[in-house]
Symmetry: C2
Subunit: 177 residues, 2 copies
DNA sequence: AGGGGCATGTAAAGAGTTACATGATTCT
DNA sequence: AGAATCATGTAACTCTTTACATGCCCCT
C-alpha cells in the first residue's frame, strides 16, 4: 500500500470522491503511470482512514451499502507533501517487450520483424490517442495548478510513446526482410 | 512466475548457467527491463525443471550444496519461441515520479523545481552510464545474434533516458523560479 | 421488464521483496 | 587469518490481480 496511498491522497486532494469514482478516475487519467483495482482502493481507503489521513461523509445514494465520500484531512495533506519531497525509492522496471527483444535472435528474420512491427503499431496508435486529448489552451495553464500537472503527465506519455515508436523504427531498419 | 520463466529460459538459451550466475547476469544486463532476486530465480528453475523445460547437471564446486548448471531442453526452447510469437498481455505501468508530478501543484514553486531537477540529474547520469557501455563495433553486429539483441535493448534504455531528460528539461522550462 | 451504471466490500491466489540460513573455495 | 565470491535454498510478508457477492436507481 505504500505508493498507492499517495495516488489516492493525491486524487482526493484535488477533489473529494467515493471509492468507486476514485477507481474510475484512476482508470481514466492516471492509468498509464499508476493503476489499481477497486478492491485495492477500498482497502487503502480503510487503512488511510484508520490512520486519520482521510475521512468520509455518508451520503444518500444507490446500492445496499453506505455511499461514502472521502476527503483528505490536514494530517493527510501533510503526509502527501512529505512524500512529494522525499526521494523515490528505486523500483524494478519490468518491460515484457524489451525482454522479448533480448531473445529475438531465436526467431526467424520474418518473425522478428513481425514482433517489432506489431509493437510499433500499438505504440503509434497510443501516441495518436494521447495527441488527440486536448487539455485546452496549454500555454495559459498556470504551473502550480492541478490542470497543468495533468498536462505535464500527458506530455510524459507522449514523449514516451514517441521514443518507443522511434526505437521500433530504428530496429526495423536494422532487421532484414 | 509467468514472465520470469521466459527471462530465465532466454538467458539459459544463450548459455547454460547456475542459478547464482543467472541472478548475477540479470543484475548486470537485463536489470533495467527485468530483474529478479535469487530467491525467485531458484523457485522458477525448480518449477521449470518440474515441467521438463530445463534440466541440470551437477558439477563439482564450492558450498555445502550441489552446484547445478542448468540448460534449456527442446520443449523449453519451443515454449520460449511460442512466447516470443504471442502478443504481450498488457501490464500496468507504475511510475512513482510521474505520479508525484500529478500532485506537484501541492508544492511551492521552489520545491517543485527541486523535485524535477533531482529526477533530471538521476536520468542524465544513467544516460551517461549507458552511453559509456561499449558493445563493440555495432554496425557489424549481425541481426539474429544474441549480441545484436543485447545492443538493441541498450538502445531502448538510451532512448528512454533521453526522453526522460528532455521531458524534465521541458518541465523545468515551464516552472517558475 | 431488463440492462447499465453506481456503489462497497471479501477471499483467494499469484508475483515480488526481504530476511534468515549455511558453508566451501579463492584471493589478499 | 579474514574477506570476498560462489552457491542454494526456505519463510514470512507485501503488493496486485481475479473472482465472488450484493443490490438500488435510472433509462429505454
Amino acid at each position: 500500500m505504500s505508493v498507492l496511498r499517495f495516488a489516492v491522497l493525491g486524487l482526493l486532494a484535488a477533489e473529494p470522491r467515493t471509492g468507486y469514482r476514485l477507481a474510475a478516475q484512476m482508470k481514466a487519467s492516471t492509468d498509464f503511470f499508476w493503476t489499481a483495482r477497486h478492491s485495492q482502493i477500498y482497502a487503502t481507503l480503510a487503512a488511510l482512514e484508520a490512520e486519520g489521513l482521510v475521512c468520509h461523509a455518508v451520503l444518500a445514494g444507490p446500492g445496499p451499502r453506505e455511499n461514502k465520500s472521502y476527503r483528505v484531512t490536514d494530517p493527510g495533506l501533510a503526509e502527501l507533501r512529505d512524500w512529494l519531497r522525499s526521494p523515490e525509492r528505486p523500483r524494478a522496471e519490468r518491460d515484457e517487450f524489451v525482454l522479448k527483444v533480448s531473445s529475438m535472435w531465436l526467431l526467424s528474420p520474418g518473425e522478428a520483424r513481425a514482433l517489432v512491427q506489431r509493437h510499433r503499431d500499438l505504440h503509434a496508435t497510443r501516441l495518436e490517442d494521447y495527441t488527440r486529448i486536448d487539455v485546452g489552451d496549454d500555454e495559459s495553464l498556470g504551473p502550480g495548478t492541478p490542470e497543468f500537472a495533468t498536462f505535464a503527465t500527458l506530455q510524459a506519455g507522449i514523449g514516451y510513446e514517441r521514443h518507443r515508436v522511434a526505437w521500433c523504427d530504428w530496429l526495423l531498419g536494422r532487421l532484414p526482410d
